[in-house]
Amino acid sequence: MTKNLRVKTSKFIDETYKISFKFNGITYYGYKGDTLASALLSNDIHLVGRSFKYHRPRGIMTAGSEEPNAIVQLHNNTPRTEPNVRATEIEIYEGLEASSQNCWPSVNFDIGGINNFLSPVLPAGFYYKTFMWPASFWEKYEYFIRKSAGLGKSPTEPDPDIYEHKYIHCDILIIGAGISGIIAAKTAAKNGYKTLLVDEKPYLGGSTIYQNSEHFKINNQISSSWLEKEINEIKKIENLEIKTRTSVAAYHGYNFLLARENMTDHMPLEQRNDKIRHRLLKIRAKKVITATGSLERPLIFNNNDRPGILLSSAIEKYANFYGVACGEKNILFTNNDSAYETAISLYKKGINIEAIIDNREDIDSKLIKETEKNNIKVYKGYTVVDTSGYKRINKVSIMQLSKDGQKAIGPKISISCDCLGISGGWTPAVHLFTQSGGKLKFRDEDQVFIPNIYPSDQISIGSCNGDFTLDEILSTVPKTLKEFLNLKKTDYEDLEIKSSFNKSKRNIWLLPSDKVIGKTKPFVDYQNDATAKDIKLALREGFRSIEHVKRYTTTGMGTDQGKLGNMHALGIISETAGSKMSELGTTTFRPPYTPLTFGTIVGRNVGEYFDIIRKTPIHEWHVANKAEFENVGQWKRAWYYPKNGENMHDAVQRESKAARDSAGILDASTLGKIDIQGTDASEFLNRVYTNAWSKLAIGKCRYGLMLNEDGMVYDDGVTTRLDENHYIMTTTTGGAATVLGKLEDYLQTEWPELDVYLTSVTDHYATVSVCGPNSKKIISQVIPDLDFSDENFPHMSFKNAKIDKIKCRVMRISFTGEHSYEINIQANYGKSVWEKCMEAGKEFNITPYGTETMHLLRAEKGFIIVGQDTDATMTPIDLQMDWIVSKKKYDFIGKRSLYRSDTIREDRKQLVGLLTENPEEVLEEGAQIVADIKKSPVEMLGHVTSSYYSPNLKKSIALGVVRGGKKMMGQKLIIPMENKQINVTVADPVFLDKENKRLNA
């Protein structure tokens, strides 16, 4: 039977609202206001999970987002399942189902627990050291290592929830709604600033709000009552927005912050439908006030990780806020006054305290006196040297500390217990400050890093700035705010403060044991099972940089990012290596502060909204005619049109043959189109293309090749001179945006004197391309008024025309090597022109073809595709396209680079044709090309870039790049494949109609 450890009503818990939930399959009850952790503790459950490496039983350690141990899987085997949820953060709701992670078959009996007994042979770097050899075995090891790596299970079904992103602009963002944050919010908002206050918790007031001790008073009121009034007041301020359950994940430069607003995680599942689960807030703040508070430090001693060991401040919160006792026999172990606050709280709630162990010897303060007055035994100058109890602590062993704090001396005393609270002082939560680029300084007196240099308009206040006590906060925060916000006065000038906290602290990073360190397990990083021993080992093995030690030992690399133990890791390194903390620095704090779900990061960009989809004006026709599509950049392009259950190969063979035998039709609307106008347009083209443009007559078209300044082919396409000072340039589909960008760059920065204007008109026109021996007959039916004779309308020329009353441009240009025409018409008439061509072509078996057939046809003709037959290392000379490079022009982009020592090398990779010995054998694109297979190592000469079976030539054809290929015409080469070698002969890349008879037919 489980016990009920709910002690006294708390106003934060609604005891009239009972909630049932399941943990590891068993039903428990809690109340509205409980977290999973507080509800489990009230049922006397501490054991929640197993540790990562040794599978040691672990319990709840904290009461906040810093929790390293109590991480659970929610709603296992459902689409909403989520791993690594902190039990200390998740609010319970009716129907919540949580289960333990990293254990099998159960958290109570875990096979992996054997690792705990193997731990002497599992030191830091175990995996690196063990699985190094033999190297060939890695693949076998990897399977098992991967299986045991990672915490929790990721969902396997689509996420049913909705997420969104939202921009917020404010004058002042305040992070953290503890006492400092509340004071800042009221001060900022009352002075007219548009203010946003966020806190990760569901309530306001931080830890002060459940502070009900007579020892901490403001204006003679208990601090929590005083703060409650302040909170009620700020809720009424209009220009102050308050967001709870909102965790700031990242703090970037220029006061740009990302926060996750949690909207539904506290609701029963059935209430979440159609609601937004998480909202990623993208906040731009003029000024940022960080009031993120501080985290209590644990103490590092032997076996400091057992279930039942919690931070002392967590025990206090469970008692005061949730009305839950963490145990019936409590012991507190401390190096400072904080534990006495806990002791007094517990005493007032009637929770039994067995003893307090304080490692300070000569101490006295009001809090200690009060504690001792209540007959609580305080062991001064003692330390815990060991604990026992496998699934729950049942005993601590204590010894006296030597004067230097390095040794445990005297007789060992054992005290039985079921809960141990530990307090090692406080660490300012400077994570967000350092993320923003802030520089820390180390304060020696209490061994903390605090903000020093601010990189943007921001300030840290309260305990995240190292002001821990009530009197420090209330004396510094108003002053800081006055200066930061440029105010004459705040509401917090003459407060009367009572704070009984004595700041003395005896900081010992690693507490001694009576055993040698090798026989102890003092955990520094609980989640990753990194011990002080591991850190010392890393130092012995020569690691010095804190970043290296972190990666070698995995300290601070869990889902909690070492929020608790990182300072101790630094301290132990500093002591062992004899270097100063201030010089060591901290490891880098990276976003997010607490884990974000992928849904939050992605927001609405899922499914069909993942990326923009661009469709041509003729798209619906392709869909209706059962085209298969391929993605070309963001475009959907018809790939091929299978008929009667054809596969891709058969469809492409049929389409390719039809295009050359009679007529084919292609939707070429995706090609980039740039309208170029201005008195210097011709000069401009001269400078950006390799060939000459000044003499191109009006009404003529020309193919151009564009290079980068390094001489490498960048883009190609046909440009038409529409008028004296007016051209239309086409680019590759994928290159449209970058070509325009590059041309603009040159125009604006290198040649601002040129009178040229560029406009992207890609989306304004639809392009229908009709090719094949019957193309002229078809087009002349569609445009009966135009004279299609070769004299009037030769290859590489253009005409303005009208289809019905609609103006269009007709170019006689060809990418297939066939006689062909391209009609460019206003986009919204594209589909009707396409249909007209189909209708007119019926008698000629006009065949729509897709990109695959287009690629095949152009390969037969030896036309390149930039990006397929070229990469960023091919010059026009390498492509055997010397003819397009003007010798006469003084300059063009990339010209000088064409005769650099490297680009004139004769053994560069050059484009050639490849013919297989067996004409039926089709090469694989990307296959390597070699000359001598026996030479070791085999020398790779190049690779196949395009390869097809040509139905028109009835043989396999391929293009490839081969080192020194130009001089290898007729030479035999080898394509080694997995199970065979294919013999090929180097050939001319133009396989079909070298004389261009078909073009001019």
Binding site: Y254, R284, D745
Partner: protein
């Protein structure tokens, strides 16, 4: 993410812009006169300093205009923004 004060549009998010590398590298007027080394100097060599750097940026998702900025690479502070063709600020 910075905020860049586009000289034509005003303050905008960095995501609207694209960086274009080091500023004030002038394309040689007579490239054919240059040796390989001199051409390589123009083509490949760029500074990468910690501190004040002169950079080209373009307002891609805005006015599409190129301009220059002076940025401190150590803290991303933008010290000055000026149009193409204008003299860089001296300080």
């Amino acid at each position: 993410m910075f905020i860049i004060n586009c000289p034509y549009c005003g303050e905008r998010e960095q995501s609207e812009f694209k960086a274009g590398g080091e500023a004030h590298i002038i394309r040689p007027k007579q490239p054919t006169e240059l040796s390989d080394d001199e051409w390589a100097e123009y083509l490949f060599m760029r500074k990468n300093v910690k501190g004040i750097q002169f950079e080209r940026w373009v307002h891609t998702h805005g006015c599409r205009k190129w301009f220059n900025i002076v940025r401190d690479t150590s803290n991303d502070a933008i010290e000055a923004v000026y149009k193409m063709g204008e003299k860089p600020p001296t300080k």
